[in-house]
Symmetry: none
Subunit: 249 residues, 2 copies
DNA sequence: GTATATCTTGCATGAATTTGCGGTTTTTTG
DNA sequence: CAAAAAACCGCAAATTCATGCAAGATATAC
C-alpha cells in the first residue's frame, strides 16, 4: 500500500468515525506503530486531523456535536462490526443487508481485504465503493424510501441467482420462539431471499434487541449460524441461543 | 512495446485499479524503472494521473486532498444544476448518469417534486433517497470503482427495458466533429444505452469541457436535445452548437 | 542512400523518502 | 508511585527519485 493511499485511508477513517486509534490502524494496514504515528503527525501538520495521545480526532469533532446517546450506540455497533470483520477472509463472496450496523461493518473492513460484497442498500453500497480493494455488486430495483434498500421481485430473483459464502444481516428483533422478525414486509422478502442464497447466516444486533419480537417473521433460529452482539460470548442473555446450536461471538 | 502503447496501457491500469505501483509496471512491461517513472511523469504533466511516491493514483482519488479547486467548480455546477431542475416536471420518468454535476442536480431537486429517478450511480442514488417525494430506481450490477456507477451487460439490458421522458448526462468532453466523448469504455456503454432509452437527451457540462475530446465516442451532436453549461445561453462559445439545432440553456 | 537531428531507453551516480527497530522519555492509569 | 502504553529520537536498510550521459532507434532532409 502506497503512503499516499494510506494517508487518504486514514483521513477517510477519521472523517468517518470522528476518531481513530493508532494501534487499530497499524493492525489494519499492517505497518508499524511508528509509521502510523508519522502519518498522523503529517496529517496533523496539514491541519486535516487533530492528533491526541493514542490516536487522532476529526477537526469537526472539536466543536462538540454528538450526544452521548449516539456515541453509546455507536460504540456497541463498532464492537459488533469488528467481531464480524474477523470472520471475513480474502476471496469471499458476501451478501449483506442494510442498516446502521451493516454500515459500521462496511466502514470497518480492513483496507487490505480482497473480497466481493453484494448489497441492495444504497448507504451500504456508498461505503463499499470507497474501499480500495473490494468488488462491489449492487442489487437493482425500486428503492424503498423507508429502509433505503432495493426491494421487489426483480431484486429477489437476482439474489436467488447468487450463492454467497456468507450473509450478514442486521436484525431488528429476535427471540427463541419466533426467531428473527421485522416490521417491513418488503424488506423481509429481501432478507429471506438473502438467507436462502448464502451458505452461512450471520446475524448482527445490539443486545437491546435480543428477546424482542416484531410482526413479520424473517426466519427461525435454526437458520442462524452465528449471532454477534456487543456482549461477550458468555453473557447469560445469550446462553439460550448458544444452547440451540448457534455460534455466539 | 511502443511508448504510446505503453502510456495507454498504464493509463488503462490506473483507471481500472485506481492505482499503479512503479515496480509492478516495470516488471509487467519489462522496461526499466526509469522509463516507467518518465512515463508516469508525462501522464501526470498531462493531468491524466496523479503521481505519488512509489507509483500513481487515479485523479478521482484526489477527493480528500484538494478542496479549493472543487469549490470553484462547485459554483459552476450549482448553476448548471439549477437550470436543469427547471426542465423537470411532476410525474416525469428520468434517467440520470453519474458524476459530480449530476450529484449537484440531485441535491437541487425541489422538495415538492414528485417524479421517478433512475440511476446506476451509487453517490447519486445516495442523494435521491434523502429526497422526500421522488421514487428511486437503482440499476444493479457490478459497480465500477473508478466511476462509482454500475456497469455491465445486465445493467445495459435493464436500461433498454425502460423508456424515460428525459436523460440527464454529465459529459466529459464535447466538440462539433465527434460529439460527446469519454475515456472509460464501460461507462460509455451505459451512457449509450441511456441515450437510446430516453425521449430527450440533456447534456450537462462546465464550459471548460466544451470543444474538447476524449478517446471514446458516446454519441454525436445530433442526438443531443439540450445542452446546459454555466454560461449564459448567448455566449459565443456555444453558438456553433445552437446552430446545429441544440437547445442551449 | 547517407547524414543529421530528434527521440527513446537503460545505466550510473548521488540525493531524497520511507520504513522498521532499539532505546529513552513522556503520558496514562490503577 | 509503579507498571504499562504511547510518544519521541536517532539510525540504518531499502526503496525510490532526479539527473546526466551514451547507445540505439526513428525520422527527416538532402
Amino acid at each position: 500500500m502506497l503512503k499516499t493511499e494510506r494517508l487518504a485511508y486514514i483521513l477517510h477513517q477519521v472523517n468517518l468515525h470522528n476518531k481513530v486509534i493508532s494501534a487499530d490502524l497499524s493492525q489494519q494496514i499492517d505497518v508499524s506503530d511508528d509509521t502510523i504515528r508519522r502519518d498522523l503527525q503529517q496529517l496533523a501538520d496539514e491541519g486535516k486531523i487533530i492528533k491526541v495521545h493514542g490516536g487522532a480526532l476529526s477537526p469537526s469533532f472539536h466543536h462538540g456535536i454528538n450526544t452521548s446517546q449516539e456515541v453509546y450506540a455507536y460504540r456497541q455497533k463498532k464492537i459488533i462490526a469488528q467481531k464480524a470483520v474477523s470472520l471475513i477472509e480474502d476471496g469471499m463472496f458476501i451478501l449483506t443487508g442494510g442498516g446502521t450496523t451493516i454500515i459500521e461493518l462496511a466502514r470497518s473492513l480492513p483496507p487490505s481485504l480482497h473480497a466481493t460484497f453484494i448489497s441492495g442498500s444504497i448507504p451500504v453500497l456508498f461505503e463499499y465503493i470507497s474501499h480500495p480493494n473490494i468488488e462491489v455488486i449492487a442489487i437493482g430495483e425500486k428503492v424503498s424510501k423507508n429502509s433505503k434498500i432495493t426491494v421487489g421481485l426483480e431484486a429477489i430473483s437476482k439474489i436467488r441467482e447468487l450463492r454467497a459464502d456468507m450473509c450478514f444481516l442486521g436484525i431488528n428483533a429476535i427471540n427463541q420462539q419466533h426467531g428473527v422478525s421485522d416490521n417491513d414486509w418488503e424488506v423481509v422478502q429481501i432478507k429471506k431471499a438473502m438467507i436462502e442464497s448464502a451458505n452461512r447466516l450471520i446475524c448482527l444486533t445490539i443486545s437491546e434487541k435480543i428477546n424482542s419480537q416484531q410482526p413479520i417473521q424473517v426466519c427461525d433460529c435454526s437458520k442462524i449460524d452465528t449471532l454477534i452482539t456487543e456482549l461477550p460470548a458468555d453473557d447469560p442473555l445469550l446462553q439460550p441461543y448458544r444452547h440451540s446450536g448457534i455460534q455466539i461471538l
